[in-house]
Subunit: 316 residues, 5 copies
């Protein structure tokens, strides 16, 4: 799917390509948006916009890691955002940013791109803020997708941490590990995107107008916030695993204490019972009138002594 | 709640806005303090002070991570301090620092802001030190809130560490994890605030007068001290967890030794008792006059041998 | 084995050394490829190309760590790639890059070198892109060997992680450790190769033509992607080990619970049986008509009480 | 306690303040040493030397973290050394270093300050080396206090490591944790002092004479050595804890093996004894002439088989 | 022991000090080598060569950490190498490098110094390459001592890792810890030596002739390779410890499974035997003709059920 906006300050908005139109020469502001571009549509990038084959190749198969490549008159960006419903899978958004043209290419439909398109379609005067402002208007909601994902993940982790305390199980453990792995992957993406924003908001980066720089600095700060949050998530996950381990080892102690207390009390009594179960011909105690009750009493006494001993040791 | 101080070196102190007053032009020193500002009060920032919408937006919903954004003639700071009674929750303090005006915005009342306000209200001559000195006079107590919080936390951790040694339990474990997580969060805030102070105390940062620079360097050093302290807290918490783990595993050994010693002594004796409890018709020993006492003696001897063996092995 | 391509823009392609031919002077583009070079072939490098003895020495015994040494008029690179079938063992590729000559030396045959050789042999006009483009055309497939290896390893690790969850064993454990060690070794190689690409794509590095710089930047980005991937592999391996440890300690708890429940129920019952197995002359209960069934009933009751107690404790 | 040395190249040494004497103007070299200064003595710093209130405030309550603050004509240093007998508690030494004056302030008496004082008191010509040489002559022994402390701690740790191997206990564990925590604290102090020395030995740092620079470089190198040593201590402590954990888990295995071997051998034999202890009317084996010895023999055989099985499994 | 080589391009080689000879002035190349220098021999350094007392002091007691101190006309290096037979103990080599003189001081005889001395003694023309080439010719074999040590250690570690898998024991554990500690210590030395080589191979370092720079770069690269290798050793040791821990915890599970299976099967059977060993007057089953065999059958059946249960649980 391909949609095009050509805005001329005087002649207003056009939405289709006139023959002989050369996007990188005229006065017009151009925004071309390609969604799941067909090979022919991608050729448009080489023939009409004369973009470098390496960049166009990346549009076909976007790389995992965000990055920016500066060609003579334009910059080619690979950005990533979190798409609702796709868990932590990120979706690529490629952008060709020129002085007066911006080309956005993505394999999946993105709400915030559609919304912005409607806005510019309704009010083409917005083009006057410059195509770099379009990039900012895309970056703003792009970072928001991470914020929402992290808030949701943080809640999930807090529930998991609760669960770990009460009924630790393998499923819970597995979820914590998966969350931590997602945090690591997203940390790498955000690190790369922070570096891109650092470059975009640099005074020497000519493609961003001087008065728009403060907006890109704001996005740069948001990336720093996102990195803080994803690192906190990673720590939260790691410490949940640490809690799990400490708890399991603590519980093991509890179990062993029970086993040892029972065994230490029962075994001697069983031995006594066993001794008086022996069939020796001459076993004096067996003849005593109250032998049986004496032995029972002694067993009881022995049990109490051992219980007191374990009580003092704090074993129960 | 909104309070305003306008000090003119000659005309003295005024506390209300005269119509036509333009804060960023005249001779006057202006300090505007907004506490839980209403939407109208926030509009004051855009209409009267012409502050950038991004910055005013941040006043409405302060970001978690401290930061500084430099606009043409003023700087917008997001700072955080610890508020007594709110545990490790930090409270945001936004500051617009201009050449002769300073606007402080915060969603919660802060003692040290009120105290400073009274001081300037009583002795408006203080304004002559410059509005940057007001910022310093706010930063000094702001860092103090962290120092007090860390000292309290350090004592808490030392008690927890004691507790871990004597009666480790899940609650104690949980508290240590929470303290460590707080330390991580505060470490990120302090790291960001250190970077802000680094910028404020830089010779090229024009909004700070040359003679006031040494004060901001002192705050920068205090941030370094705070970071040292919070890192030490994190290490203290981590090592407490390590102690907990090593102790639990050590205790498990103790329990197992008791279980094994008892079992290893009792089981052979029970077997002997069991053997002589068998109902074989011809069991010679059963007929011996002193068979019973011989077996008891042998059992005693066997127990002593095993006890000696475990003693030498250092098991009890 | 030695193969040579000498391309003169006008006189076309020659494949053998004419006497008196001096490779570093003339107009011609020269590509010399040495596979498992004999000592005589290596002397060619010193006598014909006057390369520094240190560099030629490295060709004889390539170092493990990739690196670049800049001599006055040429650069000597040590690069490494993964060879299919050799697991994580990397193979060295030494390159002498001059203004119009490139010499490739490797101890093992490499498919991508052969393929490129055929391409240049068929269409010698390619030389006009410059010998630096030959280097790029080698680096592209060289990085691809890492990508394929990592994808394969990632799948292996995911299977191992599954296995760890279901039937952890020492072999599985051993494989995870080996994978992690490979990840560390490859991380060091990729780090060194990233630094080489950083140097090659630097504007001041004269041996790369200005218009070819963007290609080397692309390889630099691919190295960053590879480093991300190998670090993710390392994390995946480390977390698999963590899962293994947490699981084993969790399973231990399960086993111990079973042991303790059984022991705690059986031992008291055995004691009771033992008590009524004693041969005291006067044991009233033994005479009761339903003594036996009473005791059996009591044992059953006792077992139920204990089972309920363990159920409530969540032990099974 | 306050002691003063004023050395005039021509007029020689004076030890008391003449009225009207202005330390920061004249030709004289001045060394003022304040030990546990009274408030009046501290006022001397503000009135006579006109030092910045912030610095004087720090003398009253020295900060934990070493640091350097450069005022227009002098530098204010906070340094720390280890005092014999105070364990790892460090003692602060504040120094005001001017072109021809040096003021040392410390709350505790320090041997190396007294020694140097006697030396300069005996041979005032030393002043000609410059007051910066006094600072060097204090730094040299100051670093020595750390060296001695670390050597002692290293020996302590080596003994602890031995103890861990032979009879691990909670006290030993506790000492290792304390040593590690001390290492962390001292690491932070040394890191800060290394940065101070880095600044002092910098060619642009005017207060150090060009010919004395090499001495301060030597102290800088000593700080690097100290950091190496404290990091090694930290590693030694950490690895001792790791040994402790691995050993405890290894010992647990040993204990469990004994328990399992005993139980696995005894239980079946007890069952056999138990079976032949049953009171069934018709139990053929009971009537056999050698039933008893057959059962004993079978028991012995069964025990041998099991022992062989455990031997092969390497369990004892 | 003291040996001296003075080579004059025209007058050839002399081996003894003529009176009035001033090493740092004349045309001659001077190489003085001091082995376990006596106090008088060390004075030679101050009186004849006028070296700084700090440097000469270091020759008396070499510091642990390699370093370089630049004096006006010469540089003083502290280097370390591994001496065969001394395990991981490193031996110091101090070098005074001047424009035309080089003084080597070491407390232990070093083969590679003796070899180089013989070479220069036989062929004094080598001096024409410059005294810096002598330094290179010492650094080359010095790095080789580390390579050989690491290769040997890597093999040792690989054997230890094998041993850990088959028969883990405390001795093995101890050796792994010692190897890791050695790796840490050597890592610090190599880090410091890498920094020295970085300085030596810097274009601005005048004492190295321009044409010899490439040789020092090669040594710099060798230091990087050594650091890679020592870090890999450290990882290998750490992962061996991790394997040890995972294995021990895995083995513990195995032992516990055996204990639990035996106990869970035996105890119920013993209970049954115990029940029928009771002396109740009326126990109907005891009278049944086949009661005994029924009970034995039931016991067998019960054992089979439990074995099947454990089989399904994967416990053996
Ligand atoms: Mg690409
Ligand atoms: Mg990738
Ligand atoms: Mg936002
Ligand atoms: Mg939340
Ligand atoms: Mg993970
Ligand atoms: Mg990254
Ligand atoms: Mg943490
Ligand atoms: Mg914002
Ligand atoms: Mg945030
Ligand atoms: Mg303060
Ligand atoms: Mg305290
Ligand atoms: Mg931070
Ligand atoms: Mg502090
Ligand atoms: Mg620590
Ligand atoms: Mg080499
Ligand atoms: Mg190597
Ligand atoms: Mg590619
Ligand atoms: Mg995959
Ligand atoms: Mg590296
Ligand atoms: Mg991780
Ligand atoms: Mg202070
Ligand atoms: Mg010293
Ligand atoms: Mg020692
Ligand atoms: Mg370590
Ligand atoms: Mg020294
Ligand atoms: Mg040392
Ligand atoms: Mg070599
Ligand atoms: Mg090897
Ligand atoms: Mg170690
Ligand atoms: Mg170091
Ligand atoms: Mg590792």
């Amino acid at each position: 799917m391909q949609r095009l906006l050509i805005f001329h300050p005087q002649q207003g908005l056009k939405e289709s390509l006139e023959p002989g139109f050369r996007p990188r020469q005229g006065e017009e502001f151009v925004w071309l948006d390609l969604v799941r571009p067909s090979p022919e549509e991608l050729d448009l990038l080489t023939e009409l916009f004369h973009f470098h084959p390496l960049a166009v190749e990346d549009c076909r198969r976007p790389h995992y890691r965000p990055g920016i490549a500066q060609y003579d008159e334009y910059a080619f960006l690979t950005l990533r955002c979190v798409k609702h419903g796709k868990g932590s899978q990120t979706v690529a958004l490629n952008v060709f940013l020129g002085p007066r043209f911006i080309v956005t290419v993505h394999q999946e439909s993105l709400d915030f791109v559609d919304d912005l398109w409607q806005q510019y379609h309704r009010d083409a005067e917005l083009f006057k803020k410059g195509v770099d402002f379009i990039l900012y208007s895309l970056l703003e909601p792009l970072t928001a997708t991470f914020f929402t994902f992290f808030d949701r993940t943080e809640d999930k982790l807090e529930h998991l941490e609760e669960a770990v305390f009460h009924r630790p199980s393998r499923q819970i453990l597995n979820q914590v590990f998966t969350l931590r792995r997602q945090a690591i992957k997203l940390r790498k993406i955000l690190g790369a995107q922070r570096d891109i924003l650092n470059l975009l908001s640099h005074p020497e980066f000519k493609l961003i107008k001087q008065e728009n720089r403060v907006f890109f600095l704001d996005i740069y700060n948001e990336m720093l916030r996102l990195i803080d949050q994803v690192e906190t998530l990673h720590d939260l996950a790691s410490s949940t695993l640490e809690i799990y381990l400490s708890l399991t080892s603590n519980r093991l102690n509890e179990i062993m204490k029970v086993l040892t207390v029972i065994t230490t009390i029962m075994m001697p009594l069983s031995l006594i019972a066993g001794i008086y179960g022996m069939n020796f011909r001459y076993m004096p105690e067996l003849e005593w009138r109250y032998g049986y009750f004496a032995v029972l009493g002694f067993m009881f006494f022995l049990a109490m002594v051992m219980l007191y001993f374990f009580r003092r040791k704090g074993w129960f």
